[in-house]
């Protein structure tokens, strides 16, 4: 048989198959519901107030605080360097570059964690990386950074180190009382969340 017929016998059925099956439109970077649930259960989205305070005090350029409360609340009080993206406007086109990027560590915060978690869940479901939630929200922030409670005298040393860090960070950010830092301030800070670099399209060269 001629090669052309062999080619036709093999390739035409393949073409019919590919024409008949529906196109695969799943995006591998979108999370399925069970994956998202697992992430939420592992609390991977949370960044502790200590980490955030440390990044603010050290003027870490990779930190991007995002206030997801309403504009009124944002104008009354916001964390240093934060920008306001109310949850209702989260998916607006002008903010697309802010929530979908691979350079900065975005930290959503609200008064509690509900609104911030909603924002995180939406962005995560869309497959965006590098978005996190401030653990405990602003309420917890005030409790532990601005007015930290002194640990009891029998507490372990780590507890005191954390307390000292919180007080010094709090005073640097304008809360609590004047306080002389006794220990290295980043001692109690948890490791920063890692920024994942997303896939980039690369130009390829080719041709005949």
């Amino acid at each position: 048989m001629r090669p052309l017929k062999w080619l036709a016998i093999f390739i035409v059925p393949m073409g019919i198959i590919i024409a008949a099956v529906p196109q695969n439109t799943t995006k591998p970077y979108k999370l399925t519901a069970p994956q998202l649930l697992a992430e939420a259960n592992n609390r991977t989205q949370y960044v502790t107030p200590e980490t955030v305070a440390d990044m603010i005090v050290n003027k870490d350029p990779s930190l991007q605080l995002i206030d997801v409360r309403s504009q009124d609340e944002f104008e009354k009080f916001s964390l240093p360097g934060a920008i306001n993206i109310p949850l209702t406007d989260l998916l607006a086109e002008k903010y697309a570059d802010v929530i979908n990027q691979d350079l900065k560590t975005n930290v959503f915060y609200s008064n509690g964690t509900v609104t911030a978690n909603q924002a995180w869940m939406l962005t995560r479901q869309l497959g965006y990386a590098n978005n996190f939630v401030l653990e405990g929200g602003l309420n917890y922030w005030f409790e532990v950074i601005m007015n930290p409670g002194k640990p009891v005298t029998t507490s372990p040393d780590e507890e005191f180190a954390r307390y000292n860090f919180r007080r010094s960070a709090g005073s640097a950010l304008g809360g609590g009382g004047a306080f002389q830092a006794q220990t290295g301030q980043s001692q109690a800070a948890a490791p920063k969340p890692a920024v994942t670099t997303g896939p980039k399209k690369k130009k390829v060269a080719g041709g005949c």
Binding site: L7, I11, A20
Partner: protein
């Protein structure tokens, strides 16, 4: 999973290494199929030898089927695959210049290197012409910049422009290719040439 480079599965240097291996393989197959002969290549325009059409179109539909099936199995994310942007005017003008050069010179850029590497003098002359062309384009860029960048269309796909699914357009392309091969073989019978 794929594309391997964009998803960080292989590094840029591994990619270059693989490209090197594939390039050698490509050159080898070109030479073995007789693509280092300018008479054979020019034959496609005169109808006495249409192997160029058959080889390149078979390669194209094989790669197309492979990508479509890989995408179906979830092995590659086609939205991450780089597609050359289309500048309509320069594509047409460039196509005419390239086609004319192909008929006159008997080579396309890749096959001229193939010919030169086995010592064909016409292949080497053709490469010289290539470099002169590149130089002229670069020196006179200001003159044809407007033409070069005219009618930018992004990276359109024929299937989306026609409103067809990628798979169905693929089937049409396969049938068109087989039709062309059939016509090409008729032409070979009609304009035979013994020695070339």
């Amino acid at each position: 999973m794929g594309p391997l480079i964009t998803n960080g599965i292989i590094s840029e240097s591994t990619n270059l290494f693989l490209a090197f291996i594939i390039g050698i393989g490509f050159g080898f197959v070109l030479e073995q199929s007789g693509f280092s002969s300018s008479r054979k290549l020019a034959g496609v325009f005169y109808g006495y030898d249409t192997v160029v059409l058959k080889v390149f179109f078979t390669a194209a539909i094989t790669a197309m089927l492979g990508l479509l099936f890989f995408s179906l199995f979830g092995w590659i994310d086609l939205s991450l695959v780089y597609v050359n942007p289309t500048y309509l005017t320069s594509a047409i003008v460039g196509g005419i210049i390239m086609g004319a050069g192909f008929i006159i010179g008997g080579y396309c850029p890749g096959t001229s290197f193939c010919g030169a590497s086995i010592g064909k003098i016409d292949g080497m002359v053709f490469i010289g012409g290539l470099f002169i062309g590149v130089l002229l384009f670069g020196l006179g860029y200001k003159l044809w910049e407007n033409l070069y960048l005219a009618k930018f269309m992004g990276s359109p796909k024929v299937s989306t422009s026609l409103g067809l699914s990628d798979g169905f357009f693929g089937l049409l392309l396969i049938l068109a290719a087989l039709g062309m091969f059939w016509v090409a073989e008729l032409a070979e019978k009609k304009f035979p040439r013994e020695e070339y």
